[in-house]
C-alpha cells in the first residue's frame, strides 16, 4: 500500500472512531453526578424545613444549582416524582460574579437572582464556586436553605452537607450546627448514614482542614 493511501486511511480512521461516541456523549453526565442527583432527591425526604417555608402547599420544592452545572440531565426522573406531597423542580443559577455585601447596592437583576436563591429548599453549590462558598452561604443565611456541596472544607465554611468520595463510592458528611442555624431538622436516619457529623464548630480563625 502506498504511504499516501495509508496515511489517509489512518487519519480517516482516527477521526471517525470517536465521533459516534462523542455525538452520543453530549447529553450524558458522568455517573458520579447521576448518583449525587439521586442523593439530593433523597435528602429532601429526610430533612424537615420550618413551617413558614412549607406554608404554601402548592409551591414546588426547589432544588437550586449554583455555579457550573455538572449534573446535565441527571435530574430528569425527578419530573414525575413528589416529595412531601409536592412536585420537585430544579433551578440552575450559573456562576456568581460579584456578590456585594450590602443589599442596597445590588442592581435589579442580581436582586432577582438572590430572591430566587433564597426560595430554594436545597441549594447545591458547585465546585466552580469554591472561592465564594462563605458569601453564598451568608446570602441564604436566614432563609432555611439546605446547603450542599462536594468541596473540601464546605462544612467548616458553614455548609450543611458535603459529599466525599471514598473507595470509589459516594459518601456524605453533615454539619448539624449549620443545620440548626438554618432552622432545619435532619432526621436521625440520615445522620446515622453520614460518614462524619460535625456537632460543634471550631472558633473562626483556626486553620481550615
Amino acid at each position: 500500500m502506498t504511504s499516501a493511501r495509508s496515511t489517509t486511511l489512518l487519519i480517516v480512521f482516527l477521526i471517525v472512531l470517536p465521533v459516534p461516541a462523542v455525538v452520543w456523549a453530549e447529553s450524558a453526565p458522568t455517573q458520579e453526578y447521576q448518583i449525587k442527583a439521586a442523593f439530593l432527591y433523597n435528602f429532601l425526604k429526610f430533612v424537615d424545613w420550618p413551617k413558614e417555608k412549607m406554608a404554601d402547599s402548592n409551591e414546588p420544592i426547589i432544588i437550586g444549582i449554583a455555579g457550573k452545572d455538572p449534573f446535565g440531565n441527571a435530574f430528569d426522573p425527578v419530573r414525575d416524582k413528589k416529595v412531601k406531597n409536592r412536585k420537585v423542580v430544579v433551578k440552575r443559577f450559573g456562576g456568581f460574579a460579584e456578590v456585594k455585601k450590602s443589599g442596597e447596592n445590588r442592581n435589579a437583576e442580581v436582586q432577582r437572582q438572590v430572591t430566587a436563591l433564597r426560595k430554594c429548599y436545597l441549594l447545591f453549590i458547585c465546585s466552580s464556586e469554591e472561592k465564594k462558598l462563605k458569601e453564598i452561604i451568608s446570602l441564604v443565611k436566614d432563609h432555611s436553605v439546605l446547603t450542599v456541596a462536594d468541596t473540601k472544607g464546605f462544612l467548616e465554611s458553614g455548609g450543611v452537607i458535603n459529599f466525599i468520595i471514598q473507595e470509589k463510592k459516594v459518601r456524605f458528611e453533615i454539619n448539624t450546627v449549620a443545620a440548626k442555624r438554618a432552622k432545619l431538622e435532619i432526621r436521625s436516619k440520615l445522620l446515622r448514614l453520614a460518614k462524619r457529623v460535625v456537632r460543634e464548630e471550631a472558633p473562626q480563625g483556626k486553620k481550615d482542614k
Binding site: 462523542v22 458520579e32 442523593f39
Partner: protein
Amino acid sequence: MFTQRNSLTRKYLSVLILLLMSIFNVQMFAQQNADKQEDLFEMSVEELMEVPVDTVHGASKYEQKVTEAPSSVTIITADDIRKHGYRTLADILRSVRSFYTFYDRNYDYVGVRGFGRPGDYDTRILLLLDGHRTNDNVNEAAAIGGDFILDVDLIERVEIIRGPGSSLYGANAFFAVVNVVSKRGSDVQGLQVSGDAASHGTFKERVSYGSKFENGLEMLLSYSNYDSDGQRLYFEEFDDPSTNNGVAKRCDAEQYQNLFSKLSYGDFTLEGAYTSREKRIPTAPWDTVFNDRRTQSIDTYGFVNLKYEHEFEDVVEVMGRVYYAYVRCDGDYVWDYSEDDDPWLVVNKDRQKGDSVGGELQFVKELTKKHKLIWGTEYQDNRRQDQKNYDITGVYLDDERESEQWGIYVQDEFKVFNNLIFNAGVRYDDYTTFGGSTNPRLGLVYNHSEKTALKLLYGQAFRAPSAYELYYNDGDDTQKANPDLEPEAIKTYEVVLEQYIGRGLWGSVAGFMYDIDDLISLETDPADDLLVFKNTDEVKAKGLELELNGKWDNGWRARASYTFVEAEDEDTRHTLSNSPKHLAKANLIVPLLKDKLFMGIETLYTSKVKTLARNRADAFFITNLTIFSENLIKGLQTSVSIYNLFDEKYGNPGSGEHAQDIIDQNGRTVWVSATYHF
C-alpha cells in the same frame, strides 16, 4: 504474500465494521442510559451508598509518587484488560501511545518513542509491581511476556508514566516507569476459577481466592498454570536438507506457573510472588543446532515485600518497606562441537543467579499550603550476582559477585499560583560497581483552566550497567568482560498540552526530544577481535504524540493515538534499527448489552523499520477483537478473542544472535476463556 488490494480491503473493512457497530448502538445507549438513571432514583440512601463511581472528577488519585509527576500518564484498568483480551503485559503495553513490542520467539521486548534496538534486554523501562522494582539484579531487565511475575487477570491497573523517572526512582527509569498495581482481596471477594484454551494447543488455568474479613484482614491468593505446544515453524534461512528443510517441530512450546499472595492488615501489607517460565527456542540463535528442542530459556523470579504505610494526620505520610528478591535465568544451548561430519551435540548451560535484600523509606509532607515535599532513601544489597557457563567439556565462566547500591531523593511540588505548579526533584544513586549518578528533573504544570493543562518537562535519567554487561565472558574465547562500564545517560525535553474537549473526551498533543549518551553496545574490539560491551553510542531523537481519550459511564471507551518519531545514531546519522517512524493505535470498547456483553476492538499500525542487515520489515496493521460477557449466567465471565483478525503476515527484526534477519510473527489466533466466581 498478499496483494496491495487485499490489505486495503481489510483495512477499510475494519473501519466499516466499527462505524456500523457504533451507529447501530447509539440509539440503544441513549435509551439504556435513561433507564439507569430511573433506577438510581428508586434506590434508598443505603443502596446509593453502595453504587461504585466510574469516573471521578478533578485530580485523579494516583499512588503517591505518580501524583507528583508532571509527565503524561496512561492508565490501563482491569476493565480495559478484560474487554480487550490482554493476556500479557506485552499486549497491554503494545496498545499504549508511543510503545511498541517485538518478539523473537524467546522473549517479548518493548520499544518506546522509537527506541527498541534488537538484542537489547528491556532495561530502559522500570517495571514496578506495587512499588517494588521487578527489574532483576543480574540483567536489570523487565519481563513483560509470559515471564512477568503476576497473572494479568490479577492486575487492577497499569500506570505508564512516560519520560525520565530517575529523579524519583533511580536506575532503569530511562524512557518510562510502568507501575503495575495488583487487585485487592476485596476486589476478588470469593473464589474464582478460570479456564482458558487457545490456538496452538494452549491451555491455562487459574485459581484465586480473595477476601476482606470482619477484623480488617484482607487476603489474596492465586495460582496460575499455562501450557502451550507452540507451532511448527518454518524458517527459510535454514531451508536445507541438513537442517530439516527449515522446519522446527515442537520447538516453540512455552510453559509457566505463577503464585501470588498478598495479605494486608491495618497499615501493613505483606506481598509475595513467584513465577517460573520455560520457553523452547525454535530460531536456533547463537549458532545452536536447528530443530533441537533442548535449546530453551528457563526464567524464575520471586520476591517477598513487607510494607508499612501511615498518614500521621497533618504531620507527615510515611512509607517503609523491606524486601527479598530472587532471580534465576537459565539458558540451555545445544551446540555441535564436532570437527568432522560426525555430529557431537553438547548442551551448553548458561546459569545466572541473583539474590538481593533491600529497603526503602519515604516521607511526604505538605510543608506549607504551597509546598509538598517528598523525600526518601533506598538501599539494595546484591548478595549474589552470579553467572556461570559450562558444559560437559568444561567450565567457561564462573563469576560470582556482590555489590551494593543506594539512593537518596527529594522532590518539591511548589504551587506558585493556584494554577501553576513547579516541580523540581533530584536523586543521587551510588553503586559499588561504577560510582555515583545524579539525576534532576524539572517540570512546570500550568492549568490555564479546568479544561486545559500545559506541561513542560526536563529530566535526566540513567541506566546502570548490569552484572551481565560488566562481567559476562566465555573465558575470553569470543567475548570478554568490561568492569569499567559507565552508566548510560539520557536527557529528555517534553512539552505536553492536555485539553478536555467535551463530556468525557480528552485530547493531548506532546512534543519530545531526547539525547542519549554512553549507550552500552556489544562491539568487537579490533585489538583482540573479542566481543565486549562498551559505552559507545549516542542517539538523538525527536517526535510528536497525539492522543484522544474518551470514557463514558454507559460503558463506551475509546482511545486513539498517533506518534511520529525520528531516532538517529549521532555518529552515523542513520535511523536506528527497529525504530518505526509512525505508530497509530485505536481502541474501542462497545457495550452490546448493558453491563453484560461487550466488544473490544483494537487496531495497531506500525510503520516499516530497518533490520540489522539493513533490510526492511514492512509496515503492518494488526486488528484484535474480543467479545466479553459478564453475568449472562450469574457468576460467569466469558471471553472470546481473535488476535490478528485479518491474519496479517508481518515480522519483527531479529538480533545479532539470529540467522533470521526478520522473524515472522503469529497469524490469526483464537483464545477462549471462562471464569466462574463462587
